[in-house]
């Protein structure tokens, strides 16, 4: 058991160190959702005062609607970014060192996943604190009940990043994947507009949005922020986590996947 914990703490410490050393990255990760909240959402303030959708019980301003989506955005970008660092590690050789540790590979990857999720959640809470100062009201207990949702969503997006990084040969390719994965995932979800709004413009778009696991991650965060249960969103997010983890494990399996071909 001990070697497991040693590895976990080592990976956590490394991520924490990286986090502390890259304060710019932390700030940059915060600036992105803040720009959406303070600039984009402010312009659309009255746009959504037309319908009441659960978990909300009354009309809300757009700034309030967009908060869970922006929490999701932080998790999404961080999940991808930490995978980017994996590609970097692989190119630099430190990854190889890590993967040679005499422990099951899934444990190594899980430790990595856990570490990057922890950092993401720290960023989400910082963002939520700024949003509260800006005047966004969320029930006090919502800040606690959202934690499990953030963990599940963080693990899901981190696993997706891991899976993607295992199939990417070079650092440069990853930038392309960012564009092909992050943007569609974010825009084709309920992060910026409620799904009924999507359905109004196109049924196909609405269907894609409803299938997008990121939508369910955002809804899971949204419902738990307002102390409500959303079993379907939880199930979808867990299912996606399992799928992405399986893909990552397959991709990082030395006897299969691209790791082997690249070796």
């Amino acid at each position: 058991m001990r070697p497991y914990l040693t590895t976990l703490t080592a990976i956590l410490a490394r991520e924490a160190l990286r986090f502390i050393h890259q304060r710019e990255r932390f700030i940059a990760a915060l600036v992105r959702p803040l720009v959406w909240l303070l600039v984009f959402a402010a312009g659309f303030r009255a746009a959504l005062g037309l319908s009441i959708t659960p978990p909300y019980q009354t009309y809300i301003e757009y700034e309030t609607y967009i908060i869970p989506g922006l929490c999701g955005m932080i998790l999404l970008f961080n999940g991808m970014q930490s995978s980017l660092s994996l590609v970097y590690d692989r190119e630099m050789g430190s990854m190889r060192l890590l993967l040679t540790a005499p422990l099951p590979r899934w444990w190594l990857l899980f430790s990595k996943l856990l570490a990057s999720t922890a950092i993401s959640i720290l960023q989400v809470y910082t963002f939520l604190a700024i949003a509260a100062l800006y005047g966004i009201w969320i029930p006090a207990t919502g800040y606690i009940t959202v934690l499990p949702a953030l963990i599940v969503a963080g693990l899901m997006l981190g696993a997706l990043g891991l899976a993607l990084s295992s199939f990417i040969k070079q650092l440069e390719n990853f930038a392309g994947v960012m564009n092909f994965v992050i943007f569609p995932m974010f825009f084709l979800s309920s992060a910026l507009y409620p799904l009924w709004k999507m359905a109004e413009s196109s049924e196909t778009l609405h269907m894609i949005c409803a299938l997008n696991p990121f939508t369910h991650a955002v809804e899971l965060i949204r419902f738990s922020l307002y102390l409500q249960w959303n079993g379907a969103a939880l199930l979808w997010t867990l299912l996606a986590t399992a799928l992405f983890t399986a893909a990552a494990l397959w991709g990082y399996d030395p006897s299969r996947g691209l790791i082997r071909r690249k070796a």
């Binding site: 402010a42 303030r45 009255a46 005062g49 037309l50 019980q57 009354t58 009309y59 301003e61």
Partner: protein, 318 residues
Amino acid sequence: MRALLALSLLTTPALADEIWVTNEKDDTVSVIDVETLEVIQTYETGERPRGITFSKDFSRLYICASDSDTVQVMDPTTGKILHELPSGEDPEQFVLHPNDRHLYIANEDDAITTVVDTETREVIAQINVGIEPEGMAVSPDGKIAITTSETTNMAHWIDTDTQQLFANTLVDSRPRHAEFIKDGSELWVSAEIGGTISVFDVETQAETTKIDFEVDGVHPDRVQPVGFEMTEGDTHAFVALGPSNHVAVVNAATYEVEDYILVGRRVWHMDFNADRSLLFTTNGVSGDVTVIDVAERRALKSIKVGRFPWGAAFRPTD
């Protein structure tokens, strides 16, 4: 047996206070339970119910059935219409005199204010006022009644002893609602198109100040003050701003707007619960009632009622 009785006491909900809402297009009133914030009853009324108020002891409910040209008197415990009062044509809004007997009714189509005795069920006076009268108020001492006229843009001051006009004061375009505050020393009149509330000194009938509204991200044309109600001690006014879908919170001492709260579409009138901790606003276009936490100035919930809810009145049940 005793256990069964105790259980039934536990499971039978205590009667909670209610908010009664007229639904202009459904010809009904909806009854909202103040505890559960749900509609518990809907009663049929005459055509196009608008103004709504209770007698002092809450045993009778008066409803302006505008298109039926009558004021209906309902028994709030059964929802039965007891009788109708002669009201003049197209009664829109009314106010009950502190004597609990005389109803002052604005007859929108006739440019008349009708005074009806609710006991003898007879019209005791008809007073010519400006065109399209709407807002009605009576001073707490009962000596002055106010009618505001939408097209003439005036507040008409009526001496309730003689039932004669004794003053007319200009307000901004399309006045909608009037209210005496601070023990009857001030009169506030909202002007829908003018986008203001005019404040008058009752003693001199002179305008002392005007309150303006400005909602972020909403075109000024859509900021249309209509109904308003005062919090405990008349410290703050909550003002419905019509199609801007917001309620403004005005400090009654400084006349500054302190907050805007997002509610449903075309917010019109409102009323408080018993301790004035909750405010219920009628939102005409979205067909719901938004509940506002007064202390926190935050919308808690919007409750679906009938089509085009218009007026609201509170009824305690214990």
